[in-house]
């Protein structure tokens, strides 16, 4: 076994065997699965029935029974007073709340709409509140229209929903496009790369600091070159990241499918689970999401997955080597902050810009940032689902590879000097000087 292989093996095994790795690797998918399943599961759960006692003096609600979840029970306005229904809500658990719609003196709809009151024990559920208020809003609007002599049917007949089809004519074959799923794929992959770089970049840094403070580093570099140790470490940690990521993907999808099969049975097919998160219960929206799923087929997944791996590893190598250099230059993690900040600014910038890509993927700023190696791993991934000309993609990749070579070279120089320096926190000027020390 080569010496780098021995180092990679140790770096890998020592992390993978840790309890914290095991826990995070197992707990992660459960959390992800909950995030994926929860919204649709919650929607499918039968809601509690809530009975609202209504004192509707102007008879605005037409004795409407409400919905399955929110049922209206009417108190006769001739027999009941506000105080009486208040008392009933206070004493009778059967009623969730009491709703008071006053008639006022003139039965003026504007007066009524301002004076509707809920009486309840504690807070009123937001869903209930919004259901009731939108129901009343509709009733009052219709009432006003009638007063003005307009038939409400006329108005609802005139309402129009506009849906625009997007046709991409850039390719020979015209195809229908949709930005939604592309946004989701772009955002998710950009964000995952950001996450990976941060977690595993700082893992490399901590590991370098640990070796330095443990004082084991000099023992090791009397057997291997500092550069070998650095590379072995970066590669070992990368493998840990890839392992964790792979387990997450497999376990998360496993759990999501298993849980949805068991609990949700035939009610939903797993595919619409993803869509479920966006469902508002509104048929129009869900129809849109289902077409959205069809559009997913239009994204070039083989390209995206291979680019994801490339930028995933490339971004990590670029930042990981910087973080290793930072770790070698300091004696403790607290000292590292000063150097970590400038290194992480481009990453944070990328995440801020990521939001803008979603609305405007073709802007010049974003095109430039998807070329600049420090931001390209995140920005290019987010752009990719929207379609990126191949020459641009290749240029971005070439620049990233060049930047990795440069950063590894710089990191190697700083590292081999830094690991043997104790005590004083170096300045940037000193770090620069270290680049030119002879080996």
């Amino acid at each position: 076994m080569g010496k780098i292989a021995i180092i990679i093996r140790r770096e890998y095994l020592s992390r993978v065997r840790k309890k914290s790795f095991l826990i995070l690797t197992l707990v992660g998918p459960i959390l992800f699965a909950i995030l994926a399943i929860a919204p649709s599961a919650i929607m499918l759960l039968p809601d509690e029935e809530r009975i609202i006692l209504v004192l509707d003096q102007p008879n605005l609600m037409d004795q409407n029974k409400g919905s399955d979840e929110v049922q209206f029970q009417y108190a006769n306005p001739d027999k009941y007073t506000v105080d009486k229904i208040k008392e009933m809500v206070r004493t009778d658990e059967k009623f969730y709340a009491a709703l008071f719609v006053p008639s006022g003196e003139s039965w003026d709809p504007d007066f009524i709409s301002k004076n509707i009151t809920f009486f309840s024990r504690g807070d009123v559920n937001v869903q209930v509140q919004s259901f009731v208020s939108s129901f009343l809003q509709k009733q009052i609007t219709n009432e006003k229209l009638r007063v003005m002599g307009v038939d409400p049917e006329l108005i609802s007949g005139a309402k129009t929903n506009v849906s625009i089809r997007n046709i991409d004519v850039s390719k020979e074959e015209e195809s229908e496009t949709s930005a939604g799923p592309k946004m989701a794929v772009g955002f998710l992959s950009g964000f995952l790369i950001y996450f990976f770089i941060f977690i595993y970049g700082s893992m490399v840094m901590r590991s370098v600091i640990e070796e330095k403070t443990n004082r084991i580093v000099e023992v090791i570099i009397s057997s291997v070159k500092p550069f070998q140790l650095l590379m072995g470490k970066i590669a070992g940690v990368a493998l840990v990241g890839i392992t964790q990521f792979a387990i997450w993907v497999v376990l998360t999808s496993g759990i999501v499918f298993a849980v949805s099969a068991i609990f949700l049975g035939n009610m939903v097919d797993p595919e619409s689970l993803i869509a479920g998160q966006n469902l508002g219960g509104d048929d129009e929206i869900s129809a849109a999401v289902i077409t959205g799923l069809d559009y997913l087929g239009m994204i070039n997944f083989p390209l995206i997955i291979s680019c994801f791996l490339f930028y995933f590893i490339g971004g990590y190598l670029l930042y990981g080597s910087f973080m290793a250099a930072v770790g070698s230059a300091v004696d403790s993690e607290t000292d590292a902050q000063q150097f970590v900040l400038p290194v992480s600014i481009p990453l944070i910038l990328s995440i801020i810009v990521l939001m803008r890509i979603m609305t405007n993927p073709d802007s010049t700023l974003i095109t430039v940032l998807s070329m600049v190696p420090l931001t390209s791993p995140i920005i290019m991934m987010a752009r990719l689902p929207f379609g990126v000309p191949i020459p641009e993609l290749l240029l971005s990749m070439a620049l990233l590879i060049g930047a990795i070579l440069l950063s590894v070279w710089i990191a190697g120089k700083i590292y081999r000097t830094g690991i043997l320096m104790y005590g004083k926190k170096p300045t940037f000027k000193e770090l620069y000087k270290w680049l030119f020390f002879r080996e």
Partner: protein
């Protein structure tokens, strides 16, 4: 044959010269002391021999060959800053370090077991390093330094941080390994700690070799025929042989240390019999300056 031969070695860090024209030769099979105060450049020189860093100028020969990467497995190095991974199991870690030195796993394991038994730490093989006492950790560090049976062993500040029992144990092991033909290089600023072990020494001061010599010859050059006699008795002899002068008397508890200078060593038997007539003689030795004293003298000499 020379184990190490440095010719005109020079090293600078930025505008700071750490080593300047270092010529140094260590004979094969000997115990050599590289001595000097902190910051003199000892550690840098050792790192050059270890190929942790390289010289800006000059050359280093290792057993007659120009120093190259392959030699690394023939050197064992216990640095001044020595440590272990705290969260790793003891045996696993020792095996890892041995493999990095180029040993095969099976062979390394066999030898490690032997050493662990010898040092009575075999029960800690599967424990985490954290659980070791400092003395045990030092034993582990020593074992992984010598395990691959290198031709040259380098110890930087070997006895600092060792408790007396372990320091003795380690010293005896080093001497035994030396008996088998391994060249030993000690580097320390605590000159008295290796004085009795070294056959040759080099004094390094401010990036330069101040003096390099076999220890005996160096000390002999400082001979001034002073002898110290440890003696008890009621009354000092009234007269000493001709050519013997009493320089000073040091009371030490019940006994007294008398310092004489003699015109010639042939007068010594006569001196002893004189002393014996009036008391008991416990010991007699030539008073030579310690390395520390020689070093200080050389340093001040230079300045003058």
């Amino acid at each position: 044959m020379l184990a190490i031969d440095c010719k005109g070695v020079q090293k600078r860090y930025g505008d700071k010269t750490v080593l300047q024209d270092i010529d140094l030769s260590v004979e094969r099979g000997k115990i050599f002391g590289l001595l000097g105060p902190n910051g003199a450049g000892k550690t840098t020189l050792i790192r050059i021999i270890n190929q942790i860093t390289g010289p800006d100028k000059g050359e280093v020969y290792f057993f007659g060959e120009k120093l190259r990467r392959a030699h690394i497995s023939r050197v064992g190095y216990l640095p001044e800053e020595r440590g272990l991974y705290r969260k790793m199991k003891v045996g696993e870690q020792a095996l890892y370090l041995a493999q990095l030195k180029g040993m095969k796993s099976a062979e390394a394991k066999k030898k490690l077991k032997y050493w662990f038994e010898k040092f009575d730490i075999i029960n800690w093989w599967d424990k985490e390093v954290e659980s070791l006492s400092k003395g045990m950790a030092q034993k582990v560090q020593f074992i992984v330094t010598v395990l691959h049976e290198p031709d040259l062993l380098i110890f930087d500040e070997p006895f600092s941080g060792f408790d007396p029992v372990n320091a003795n144990l380690i010293r005896d092991e080093i001497l035994e390994i030396n008996q088998k033909g391994t060249t030993i290089l000690f580097s320390t600023h605590r000159m008295e700690s290796v004085e009795e072990l070294c056959e040759s020494i080099a004094l390094i001061h401010e990036s330069k070799v101040l003096v390099q010599s076999p220890l005996r010859a160096l000390k002999d050059s400082y001979r001034d025929h002073s002898w110290e006699v440890e003696w008890t008795g009621e009354v000092l002899p009234s007269a000493f042989p001709e050519g013997v002068v009493l320089k000073s008397i040091n009371e030490r508890g019940d006994s007294r240390n008398l310092l004489f200078t003699v015109a010639s060593d042939t007068l010594l038997p006569e001196l002893i019999s004189t002393m014996l007539k009036s008391g008991t003689v416990y010991g007699m030795r030539e008073k030579l300056p310690t390395l520390q004293e020689i070093f200080i003298e050389r340093v001040t000499e230079k300045k003058v």
